[in-house]
């Protein structure tokens, strides 16, 4: 099985790749906050904006949709949960309310936009640039250990693909021994979680040792950030658009 490609960096030449990471963070935060106050019309427009930006980032669409299929299960759970638990007018399906279904679709749409935005950010921004941008923001907050926090968050982002890879390997090994026939959900969770934890810790330990042997320090050099005029126009414009749409519509 090829490792999951969602939330992974793809080095390419695109306007989104070259945009200063500080503006990308600003856009992502602005989008994430705005969608929770957005009406249906604003939400649809924000979805179109997110898809447009996502396409500008030249993502590997084929693999992205394959990986997104894994998240469909999460959407299904959310849909069922909201539809069952929200009181309202009964719908065509017994136990589901119209209001619950509407709320479920709204919530799934918001979540989809956040995932799309998060993936766009991580697939077009290298970790050194993310670290440099985070340090820049953290430095604005007094008494915050900006360097340490930025490096720590960068390491977490680095370890995320390791976790996915290990999960993929364990799933394959289990499938090879007919694990799909086990129906007990607790047994399924334990049989995956335990080796995942052990493997991740072991690999994390080796990685830490390898980083130590290459003189790793939290006071390492940070990537330089340069914002040109186009960054300011595109960045500020894109960051202001979501709250503006929410306010208008």
């Amino acid at each position: 099985m090829a490792p999951g490609l969602i939330f992974r960096f793809f080095p390419k030449e695109s306007p989104v790749h070259s945009l200063d990471a500080r503006f990308k963070i600003l856009i992502l935060v602005s989008l994430s906050i705005s969608i929770f106050r957005a009406s249906w019309t604003a939400l649809i427009l924000l979805l179109i904006l997110s898809l447009f930006l996502a396409l500008l980032g030249k993502p590997p669409l084929k693999y992205l949709f394959r990986d997104l299929k894994g998240i469909l299960f999460l959407f299904l759970l959310i849909f069922l949960g909201f539809s069952f638990s929200t009181p309202g007018e009964p719908s065509f399906f017994p136990g589901f309310s119209w209001q619950g279904m509407e709320l479920a679709i709204l919530f799934c749409l918001r979540l989809f936009i956040v995932i799309l935005g998060g993936n766009l950010f991580l697939s077009t921004t290298s970790i050194p640039r993310i670290q440099a941008a985070l340090r820049w923001y953290f430095r604005l907050i007094p008494f915050l250990p900006a360097e340490k926090l930025a490096v720590l968050l960068g390491l977490i982002l680095n370890l995320f693909p390791v976790l996915l890879e290990e999960y993929g390997k364990i799933s394959e090994a289990q499938a090879a021994r007919c694990f799909h026939r086990v129906r007990n959900p607790l047994k399924r969770i334990l049989a995956t979680a335990f080796p995942l934890l052990v493997n991740t810790l072991t690999r994390g330990n080796t990685l830490a040792m390898a980083m130590d042997s290459r003189c790793f320090t939290e006071k390492r050099g940070f990537a330089s950030l340069r914002a040109g005029l186009s960054d300011w126009i595109f960045g500020i414009g894109s960051a202001l658009l979501p709250p503006f749409l929410v306010f208008l519509l």
């Binding site: 490792p3 992974r8 960096f9 793809f10 080095p11 290298s126 970790i127 050194p128 680095n158 693909p161 690999r203 080796t206 990685l207 040792m209 390898a210 980083m211 130590d212 042997s213 290459r214 003189c215 790793f216 320090t217 006071k219 390492r220 050099g221 330089s224």
Partner: protein
């Protein structure tokens, strides 16, 4: 003066297991040393003391007469280590970023980092892959990337932990060519392996570890007859024909 020296080195794990006992060895500049032994004989534990990744529980390790434990930053620059599994040591999202990881930690100026990364990638023949994601490289290329990341720190000694593990024949030849090339350029080489046949023809010293102790050391010709009695395959070598058995010969 030895470039690296251990004096009566001992390492005991927290659970009480004695991994190394009474290890005294001196590595001279330009040496090509192979450390071999069965699984669990202490090979990896030993070399992790060479650049201070592990601290001895007894005895001492010196790099050019300076205690390793008190000069960690300098020693880790000068003693590079290529780990067994390249996947677990690659930290960059691209080949370029991974190679730059070490020089960035050293807080070198941007121009110097650029120069070192370019030189390392060129010497490993990876410059055309500099924007690729490491996950897309072959096993041999990943080993070369791991080596490029070490070379960018300009080490004197390079330690290879099982460098041929999991590689096909062309992969072994590719990695061995790089190792011998580095040795010819003046680097001191240490290889730990239980597959001595792949690199023995190029070594000038061979050391056998067994149960955490050095049981034999000397030239390959001197040590070879005892290899199999310590669980390491010696065939197809005979002491008088070691030099002819290189995997790099056509």
């Amino acid at each position: 003066m030895p470039i690296l020296e251990t004096k009566n080195l001992e390492h005991r794990f927290p659970d009480g297991t004695l991994a190394l006992k009474g290890i005294s060895l001196a590595l001279e500049e330009g040496d090509f040393l192979i450390i071999t032994g069965k699984n669990g004989s202490g090979k990896s534990v030993l070399v992790r003391h060479f650049n201070g990744l592990l601290s001895p529980t007894g005895g001492e390790v010196f790099y050019r007469d300076k205690p390793v434990g008190k000069n960690l930053l300098m020693v880790r620059q000068r003693v590079g280590m290529v780990f067994q599994d390249p996947d677990s040591q690659i930290v960059g999202q691209t080949v370029w970023q991974d190679t730059a990881f070490g020089p960035e930690n050293l807080r070198l100026p941007e121009g110097e980092i650029h120069k070192r990364v370019e030189n390392s990638l060129r010497s490993m023949g990876l410059e055309h892959l500099k924007d690729h994601r490491p996950a897309t490289l072959s096993g041999g290329e990943k080993k070369k990337l791991a080596l490029a990341g070490i070379l960018a720190m300009e080490p004197e000694i390079i330690i290879f932990d099982e460098p041929f593990e999991g590689l096909d024949y062309p992969g072994v030849v590719m990695v061995l060519t790089q190792i011998t090339g580095l040795h010819q350029k003046g680097h001191t080489i240490v290889i730990i392996t239980h597959e001595v046949e792949k690199s023995l023809a190029h070594a000038n010293r061979l050391l056998i570890l067994d149960q955490g102790r050095i049981v034999r050391q000397g030239t390959p010709e001197e040590v070879l007859p005892d290899l199999e009695s310590f669980g390491v395959r010696a065939k197809p070598f005979t002491p008088d024909r070691i030099g002819e058995m290189s995997w790099l010969r056509v």
